[in-house]
Amino acid sequence: MTFRVAVHVLPRRGILDPQGKAVCGALHSLGFAQVADVHVGRHIVIETTAESAAAASASVTAMCHKLLANPVTEDFSIASVEST
């Protein structure tokens, strides 16, 4: 079966995120005073074959540990797993 797995990678909480800070400042200067904070990361979509959705999710998790996210400074989450 083929799957489309979406992953979110974000800077770990507590680590300075200059992109997020810059975007937050820009939103404030545009009048969006209600914005408390912004975090900028990456959205990665992997198209892969796997035995099941769970197996697709597990293999993408392994890809995150090895390459897609930096274990020192970033956190990731599997956003969605769709059968294609």
Binding site: I15, L16, P18, Q19, R42, L67, L68, N70, V72
Partner: protein, 229 residues
């Protein structure tokens, strides 16, 4: 001394490293393609600056999986000297040859001359430098903010693995002297075995007065001292 300079697609300080070793120190060097599987007998491996693999994903993240990095890791494991400069430092961190990570600067891309202070002389890249020496050389990077947890940082400092700090004209590591937001003004470190060194500034671009500074020489001369020790 024979220096192996690894060329990744997007490396752009490989020729500068060659110039430093061959033209300035009159030592041997060999260029190593990232798909090679042989270090060709090099004693010292230089991972040069640049934008390996376009810096896609994260700087150094893809280069660490280049075939030659297996040999580089094995060389480091045997106690062989590996020097990562700028992008090479990022690659060494991604390959876990060095601890920590180099994140996007707190102030965007920086290209300027900085002063760094030598904190330790017990490393292959500082063996010929006086402790506390303040050296001027260029930086040019967008992702050089050295980062790790406070606890790991305390351990790194305790073990004497911080080799260089960004300092001001008085030799002090002030916030103003920090060009990228690195924790504790750290510009360069070594691993626990002290044979792998990474630094963001470019000593290979500060080898003679014509280049604006010759302060980088002592770091390359240190490699010679360490090789002959």
């Amino acid at each position: 001394m024979k220096v192996g300079i690894v060329q990744f697609p997007g490396s752009n300080c490989d020729e500068d490293a060659w110039f430093a070793v061959v033209d300035q120190l009159h030592e041997q060097a060999v260029m190593l393609w990232h798909k090679d599987h042989d270090l060709q007998g090099a004693d010292v491996i230089v991972l040069p600056g640049g934008f390996s693999h376009g810096d896609y994903l994260r700087a150094g993240a893809i280069a660490r999986f280049s075939p030659i990095m297996q040999q580089v890791a094995a060389h480091a494991e045997r106690g062989g000297v590996v020097i990562g400069i700028c992008n090479g430092f990022q690659i060494a961190c991604e390959a876990q040859l060095l601890p920590g990570a180099l994140l996007r600067n707190n102030v965007g891309y920086r290209s300027l001359s900085v002063t760094i202070r030598v904190e330790r002389t017990d490393s292959p890249m500082t063996a010929a430098a006086p402790i506390g020496a303040c050296l001027t050389m260029p930086i040019a990077h967008g992702e050089g903010r050295f980062t790790m947890s406070e606890a790991e940082l305390d351990r790194l400092e305790g073990d004497g693995q911080v080799l260089f700090r960004y300092v001001n004209a008085d030799g002090q590591p002030t916030p103003d002297a920090n060009p990228n937001g690195s924790m504790r003004n750290i510009a360069g470190i070594c691993n626990a075995g002290r044979n792998v060194v990474g630094l963001m500034p470019h000593p290979e671009r500060a080898m003679e007065p014509l280049l604006g500074s010759s302060d980088g020489r002592v770091l390359f001369e240190s490699l010679l001292v360490a090789a002959n020790a």
